[in-house]
């Protein structure tokens, strides 16, 4: 009798949990021309969702490059590098990454500053990442053409939502710092000397100080 009861309880729990899983995993189809909230309401966002996901940076030709390769790239493209002259004392440059295909370097070029020798190109709370994403004029034109927002419009968009303005010494808006995103990593976009820099570090105040030390940038 005890065994029967135990088996019944076991089966009942199995059925309930299986039903709950089946219901949570599947939603159904939706109408066309919907907003994201409608899509979300209809189907539900699967939590935690499985990652189908893109191929990561390494598979797109991302690799660690030497300073010589970097210098040749900078010279060829007439880029004056504006790395920070001040960074937190515990950090040091551990790697420079870039997309490399057929011997040619492509943006982004990524500088990793780490406290513990970590060379990985992904942002994390204890590392400073400085990524050159491309020529600011080209990127701004692409943005403006693609979605009607120039780079300055984009800065203003984030500033309206709590982003911190970054001005150069002449008072021009050259960037924005967005505080504490997912995983507590703050993020900044700064346009310096014709190149767009993306910086990632755990707190906005330190990012401010780092940006202040880049060429003529002042916050």
């Amino acid at each position: 009798m005890n065994i029967r009861l135990a088996v019944s309880g076991f089966i009942l729990v199995l059925i309930i949990v299986s039903l709950a899983i089946a219901i949570s995993k599947w939603g159904g189809s939706i109408d066309l021309k919907t907003s994201e909230s409608y899509v979300t309401r209809q189907l539900g966002v699967i939590t935690p969702p499985p990652t189908i996901g893109p191929a990561p940076f390494e598979k797109a030709g991302g690799r660690i490059i030497t300073e010589e390769q970097l210098n040749a790239f900078l010279e060829r493209n007439n880029i004056k590098l504006c790395l920070p002259s001040w960074i937190p004392a515990n950090l040091s440059l551990t790697a420079i990454w870039a997309l490399v295909y057929d011997g040619t370097i492509h943006f982004p070029v990524v500088f990793v500053f780490s406290p513990d020798g970590d060379t990985y190109y992904r942002a994390s709370r204890n590392k400073l990442i400085v990524a050159l994403k491309g020529f600011s004029a080209t990127l701004s034109e692409r943005r403006e053409n693609a979605f009607g927002m120039s780079t300055v419009d984009l800065f203003r968009y984030y500033i309206q939502r709590g982003g911190i303005s970054v001005y150069d010494r002449s008072g021009n808006l050259i960037g924005v710092i967005i505080q504490g995103g997912r995983k507590g990593i703050s993020w900044a976009i700064v346009d310096i000397g014709g190149v767009e820099y993306h910086l990632y570090y755990r707190d906005a105040d330190t990012l401010k100080a780092i940006i202040k030390s880049m060429c003529s940038g002042t916050v």
Binding site: P49, P50, A55, A131, K133, R143
Partner: protein, 223 residues
Amino acid sequence: MTSKRRSSATFASITAVIIIVLILTISAHQALAQTRYYAGYFLLYGYYGVSGKIYTIDPDVPSGEIFAQWVTILIDSQKYYWVQVGYTKMYYTNYELKFYIEVNDSLGHRLWFFDAPVPGVTYTYTITAGTNNGHPVWYVTIKEGSSEVLNTWVYGDPVSSDYLEALSETSTTSISIDGTHFSNLAYWTGRGFPLWFTHLPYYDSPYRLNEISDYEFTARGGG
């Protein structure tokens, strides 16, 4: 005696729950840690839109595995943010073909499945940056010829772009991707969709890639 029975039932229930939680945890861990195999092209330029025609194949997908073919904008390689549209067959679709949109950005990781693509039919998948009521968004469409299958948008934060991808993806080489055909790969300039003018080919063994042009390839292998 009654309390003994109750205790047995409670014990059995708790044991069942623990076993289920363990199984789910292990499965989720395995799903997240799965190796991925890719075949296709990259365009190493940060354009704010991508488009491509993908012929629909319908391979057998073993239990717990993933098959997908898609186009992607890699929004930010430092944060591993992306927006992707394509079709898939996997455990979350009950091993049926489904269209899907996937976004991973500062707003979180979102994945939506839509009605089923028809095997043997070529669909055009498109993602473009845009604004909606002043908010940056990604517009996503799926078309069969000129007929719209899906036209929607999702919030984007940030709306940015490091490079573009057009790939076939599996989680095991036991999935055959024979018949894979991507064509008319194009990027969005804000005014139009020029075809890709260069490409970085990529494939993981045992898959093979046949490069037809900068904007067209076929792939095969596996199974």
